[in-house]
Structure formats: structure tokens, C-alpha cells
């Protein structure tokens, strides 16, 4: 259970939990934390590399925030180790850790100006005044807020506050920057802007970022690697593409992107769906023969073919046009949920037409969680 390598991960990929190539900066080793009967963290092990943009992704209550707060020093794990380089982080109080946290609420000091907020951490280091002023100016320019240095947090918009919080954290030049749901308080448009901004900043300042989020789009678009958490355990650690293409289990497959599912069993290297028969699939080698499994087909891998020409037959129940692409919902007899297919441009099918379905790639996963 404590193995960093997720169960059911495809054998073709090198163990993705080990940071590839670059030197490991943060290593979380079998960390556990309980609140009463609730196991918030249950043997979490992760290695995060120097300069990496790493995301902790999971539904609320999965333990991701507890893990982040343990790294920052506001929670003390019951067991396990957290090391940053050669330092034992758990032995240090929060104010001595070379790690900074950007709070979900931003936690800007309301009684201080933007410049004073940013200077706060530098003053604690006892730096000379001139150097503090220089570094504050520099970071204000980096986040594009030079003109607002004298404002109070209350006089700023949500996006501006977020930038101040970020500036306040990166001005300390931490070895590791933790971001707790950094974009959740922003509206949709600003959020998209800030996603790009965060990536740009991460490249520019060269700090390792660990971001906690429940939003898979956010994690997928920003992170180099993602750890998917559920029930206080790591379900899978992989690059966004790997997570999407080769989910370790049903939970990951469902949580990342949208997916079509068929329940069945694995038999002699093939996926067999009851009442349908053998179906084309990958990844059956990871599943013990005879065990219950699910076939996962991504909407863009699903092809609509003439009735009777595919693996499955169904009836179009809904067509949604989304600009660049359309989503076609197909009701398949015997299946509870309709199958969703993404087709480029305008869909040729209309509601009520009978179609066949086939796919080029599909992955088989089990319901076994880590």
C-alpha cells in the first residue's frame, strides 16, 4: 500500500513516481495523519524534482490540503518523513522552512500596503532596507503590479490580490512554493489568464511549484506531473498525458477527463463484456485473468460508424454543438449511461438515428484503489 508505484500502472512506462532525470528536491516518505477515525493521509510517498511543476489532484477530503499543510508546517504528520534536499522538514518550525505557501484565501495582511505585504518576509530575514526595496520593486514588476505598490489589499481585484500573494511568496526565493487552490477564488476568464501566468512565472523564477487543486483541467494544463489522491492515498503519479491515456484504476479514469465505461471481465488477454463478447482493448496484461474490470474509451477515441458495422449499436439521444467540435450522446441498449463521442466540427448524425460504435484504443482498468 505504501509503494509509490501505483498498482495497475502499465508496465511499459518507467515508474512515474520517481522523478525522471532531474534531482529530487522534495521527498515525502510514507506520511500518515489521522483526525480521529479519519485517515487523512495514509502512507503517502512522493518524489518531486527540482524545478518541477507538480500538482496534487483529488476530490475534496482526499487529503491533498493536509499534505500541503504538512509540508508547510501547519500540520504534523503522525508518521513518515518529509525531506527537502538534505533537510528534515518535519524537524523545523514553519517559519524556518525554506518553503513558502500561497494560501487559498491569499491571507494578505489587510493593514499593510501591497509593498509592505511583499516586504514582510524579507524584513524577517533581516535584509538591509535598500535590498528589500529593490527586491520588492523587482517582484512587483514580474507580476505586473508596480503601479499598485501603495494600495491596500481591500482596494484590489481578485486577480490582483492573487498576484500580490504570489509575489509575497516568491520574493523570498523559496526552494519550494506551495499553492493551495491558487485559482479557485477567481472567475473563469481571469483563471485561464492566471494559469498561463503561473506557468510563465514558474519558468521565469525557476522555483519548484507544488499546487493543490480539485480541478482536473487546471492540473492537466499546468502541471508537469500530477499525483491523483483519493482516501488519503496516492492513486497514480504520472504526466497529464500518461494519466489520461493509461489511468491506473477506475477512479483515475473517471476523475481525469470524461470517459465511456463498459463493465466486464478479463479473460485470456481479452476484455469480455457480458452479452456483447470480446472487445478491442489495451492494458489487459495488467489485470489478473478472470477478474472484474472496466473498459474505458475516451470520447475522442469513439468512432461513429454505420449501424451494424461497429462493435456496439445504439441510437443517438442528443447532439451538442460546441464550436470546434460536437458531442454526440448515444444510448446503447443494456448500458445505463449513454456513450459520448466527440466529433470534429458539426456532427453528421441527428437525434434518433441508429448508429454503430467502434474504437481504436481503449484501456482496461479495475476498481481496485490504492
Amino acid at each position: 500500500m505504501t509503494s509509490p508505484t501505483p498498482t495497475g500502472a502499465p508496465a511499459t512506462t518507467a515508474s512515474p513516481a520517481r522523478a525522471p532525470q532531474r534531482r529530487t528536491l522534495l521527498s515525502v516518505d510514507r506520511v500518515g495523519r489521522s483526525f480521529g477515525d479519519v485517515r487523512a493521509l495514509d502512507g503517502i510517498s512522493l518524489d518531486i524534482a527540482e524545478n518541477e511543476f507538480f500538482a496534487l489532484l483529488g476530490p475534496s477530503g482526499c487529503g491533498k490540503t493536509t499534505l500541503l499543510r504538512s509540508i508547510a508546517g501547519f500540520e504534523t504528520p503522525d508518521e513518515g518523513e518529509i525531506r527537502l534536499g538534505d533537510d528534515d522538514l518535519l524537524a523545523m518550525p514553519p517559519h524556518r522552512r525554506p518553503v513558502n505557501l500561497m494560501f487559498q484565501s491569499y491571507a494578505l495582511f489587510p493593514h499593510m500596503s501591497v509593498a509592505a505585504n511583499i516586504a514582510y518576509g524579507l524584513k524577517r530575514e533581516g535584509l538591509p532596507k535598500a535590498e528589500i526595496a529593490d527586491r520588492v520593486d523587482e517582484v512587483l514588476a514580474t507580476v505586473g503590479l508596480s503601479s499598485l505598490a501603495k494600495r491596500r489589499p481591500a482596494q484590489l481585484s481578485g486577480g490582483q490580490r492573487q498576484r500580490v500573494a504570489l509575489a509575497r511568496a516568491i520574493v523570498k526565493r523559496p526552494r519550494l512554493l506551495l499553492l493551495d487552490e491558487p485559482l479557485s477564488a477567481l472567475d473563469r476568464k481571469v483563471r485561464a489568464e492566471m494559469q498561463l501566468e503561473l506557468k510563465r512565472l514558474q519558468h521565469e523564477v525557476g522555483i519548484t511549484f507544488v499546487v493543490v487543486t480539485h480541478d482536473q483541467d487546471e492540473a492537466m494544463s499546468m502541471a508537469d506531473r500530477i499525483a491523483v489522491l483519493a482516501d488519503g492515498r496516492v492513486q497514480q503519479v504520472a504526466t497529464p498525458v500518461e494519466l489520461y491515456r493509461n489511468p491506473a484504476n477506475l477512479f483515475v479514469a473517471d476523475f481525469i477527463g470524461s470517459s465511456n465505461r463498459l463493465a466486464g471481465t478479463v479473460d485470456a488477454g481479452h476484455f469480455v463484456a457480458p452479452g456483447i463478447g470480446r472487445l478491442p482493448s489495451d492494458g489487459t496484461s495488467d489485470v489478473a485473468p478472470g477478474s472484474e474490470a472496466h473498459l474505458v474509451v475516451r470520447p475522442e477515441d469513439l468512432r461513429i460508424v454505420p449501424h451494424g458495422a461497429g462493435v456496439l449499436d445504439g441510437k443517438v439521444s442528443e447532439v451538442q454543438f460546441q464550436g470546434g467540435a460536437s458531442t454526440v450522446a448515444i444510448a446503447v441498449p443494456g448500458q445505463e449511461r449513454p456513450f459520448l463521442a466527440t466529433v470534429p466540427g458539426v456532427a453528421a448524425q441527428t437525434r434518433g438515428s441508429h448508429v454503430g460504435l467502434t474504437w481504436d484504443s481503449a484501456v482496461v482498468v479495475t476498481d481496485d484503489r490504492a
Partner: protein
């Protein structure tokens, strides 16, 4: 003229349209009655303080006579001074202890027992507290004096400051303090730089509360006073026993004036700290 059609349509709709009420409506009546009930006694008192006659209840013409008498009253002046000193001392002690206790209760413990113990002096009947303190000072061998009153007032004043400060902190997010720690500040710096500024209005409010409560507190002061210490309420009490003179009205008017000034100044100070 093109508007005519839409106009008639919208006016017809307007007659049934809901509008949020902006005025008080009939609610002005209870409001006015409450105001009358609260302020008429004070108005009468202030008015009668300018009464030329010797009775507190019948008007004999305008005069500053009782104010002059008040100014010349050595006993009264001494007791005002004693009361002010006790109130100031009790305020300092209670504000410091109460603020620390309030922060501690809100941030560093979940103990309900400790919370109840801290609040008890504010909730207990004054008489119980007075007798308890009297017994304590006797057992501890502390002679009764202005200092014992000060300590007694600080004891219940602390509870009030705790209540105000804690309320302010429980309503606020602990992430500000965590952010300060995260940015490299130790516990003490965090308290001075972040916690204290954010609770400043509550601390000022608590201090004011203690000062005013101490100034007119009678029961506890009466029990813990030494034979020669007379606070203002004790002096006034002994004056009233020999008959109410308009001099007391004059004194009350002066106290009202001082209270108004103090409250206005404090409110301004709080608003300033909140703005900055």
C-alpha cells in the same frame, strides 16, 4: 411620441411592481418610545442640574450654582480622582491580560473549561465576586485599599476584554497568522505585526468597556474598599442617603459629558485603525 405606447404599458405594470421599502414605516413608533424612555431621564437630569433651587424635583430658575458647589466639594473631587486612578489601573491590567488570554483561547486551545473559567467573572453575580474577593484578600493578608479595588476590577474587567477579543478572533481567519509564520516570522513577531493590528479595534473596545464599568462599579468596590478609600459611586451613595441635592445632578451631567467625549474619541480611533 414613440414612447407613449411603452409608457402606458410600464405605468400599468408599475402599480403592481414590488418596491423594497426604504423608510421605517410604522416602526418609527416603538423606536420613538424606546428613545423617549432611554433619554428623557437623562434630559431631565441634565436640565435639573441647572436648577437654582435646592430641590431635585422642582424648578426654581436657571443657575450654575450647583456646578460651583461641585467644584468646591473636596470630598467629591477626591473620590473622582480615586475612581479615575482605579479605573485607569484596572483598564491597563485587564486589557493586557484579557488580550493575551483572548488570543490564547481563540488560537491555541480548544479547552471549554478554560474558556468558561476565563469568562466566569463577567457572568457571576457581582455580589458573589465581591464576597469571594473579600475573603481572598482577607486570607491572603492583603490590607484593603485602593489597590484591592483595582485588582478586583481588573479581575472582572479581564473577563470582558477576553469576551470582546475572542469574538473578534473567532470571526477571523487564522491563515493571516499562518501566512506570517510561513514568511519567516516567529510567534512573537507574528503577534505584534499581524494579530495585534487585526484585533486593535476589539482591544480598544474592551479597554473602554473596562474603564466605564470600573468607574461606576459599586458593589465590588464597596466590599473591597479600605476604610479611607472612597470611590465616586461610594461617595455618591453616601450623599444620596442624606438627600438628593442638585449637586448630584450636576455631577451626573459632567459624567455624561465625559462619557460622550470618550466614546466619540474612541470610535474615531477605531475607525482610523480600521481604515489604515
Amino acid at each position: 411620441m414613440a414612447d407613449t405606447v411603452t409608457d402606458t404599458a410600464s405605468t400599468r405594470r408599475a402599480t403592481t411592481r414590488y418596491r423594497p421599502r426604504t423608510g421605517l414605516g410604522w416602526l418609527w413608533l416603538p423606536l420613538a418610545l424606546c428613545a423617549l424612555f432611554l433619554y428623557i431621564p437623562i434630559a431631565v437630569l441634565v436640565g435639573m442640574s441647572f436648577n437654582d433651587g435646592g430641590s431635585a424635583f422642582s424648578w426654581d430658575g436657571f443657575s450654575f450654582r450647583w456646578y460651583a458647589e461641585l467644584a468646591g466639594d473636596e470630598v467629591l473631587r477626591q473620590s473622582v480622582l480615586t475612581s479615575l486612578m482605579i479605573a485607569a489601573g484596572a483598564t491597563v491590567v485587564a486589557t493586557v491580560l484579557g488580550t493575551l488570554l483572548g488570543v490564547g483561547l481563540a488560537r491555541h486551545t480548544r479547552s471549554k473549561a478554560l474558556e468558561t473559567a476565563a469568562m466566569a467573572p463577567a457572568i457571576l453575580p457581582d455580589l458573589v465576586l465581591a464576597i469571594g474577593l473579600l475573603a481572598f484578600f482577607f486570607v491572603a493578608g492583603i490590607p484593603k485599599s485602593a489597590l484591592t479595588i483595582l485588582l478586583a476590577h481588573a479581575a472582572f474587567g479581564t473577563a470582558f476584554v477576553v469576551a470582546v477579543v475572542r469574538a473578534r478572533l473567532t470571526g477571523s481567519d487564522a491563515s493571516l497568522e499562518e501566512a506570517s509564520r510561513d514568511l519567516g516570522a516567529g510567534g512573537f513577531t507574528t503577534f505584534v505585526q499581524v494579530t495585534l493590528p487585526s484585533i486593535a479595534p476589539a482591544v480598544v473596545a474592551g479597554a473602554l468597556l473596562v474603564f466605564t464599568l470600573s468607574l461606576d462599579e459599586f458593589v465590588i468596590a464597596y466590599f473591597t474598599a479600605g476604610p479611607t478609600t472612597h470611590t465616586l459611586p461610594i461617595t455618591v451613595y453616601s450623599m444620596v442617603r442624606t438627600g438628593v441635592t442638585p449637586e448630584i445632578n450636576a455631577l451626573a451631567t459632567v459624567l455624561v459629558a465625559i462619557s460622550v467625549v470618550v466614546v466619540v474619541v474612541a470610535a474615531r480611533a477605531v475607525r482610523r485603525t480600521e481604515k489604515s
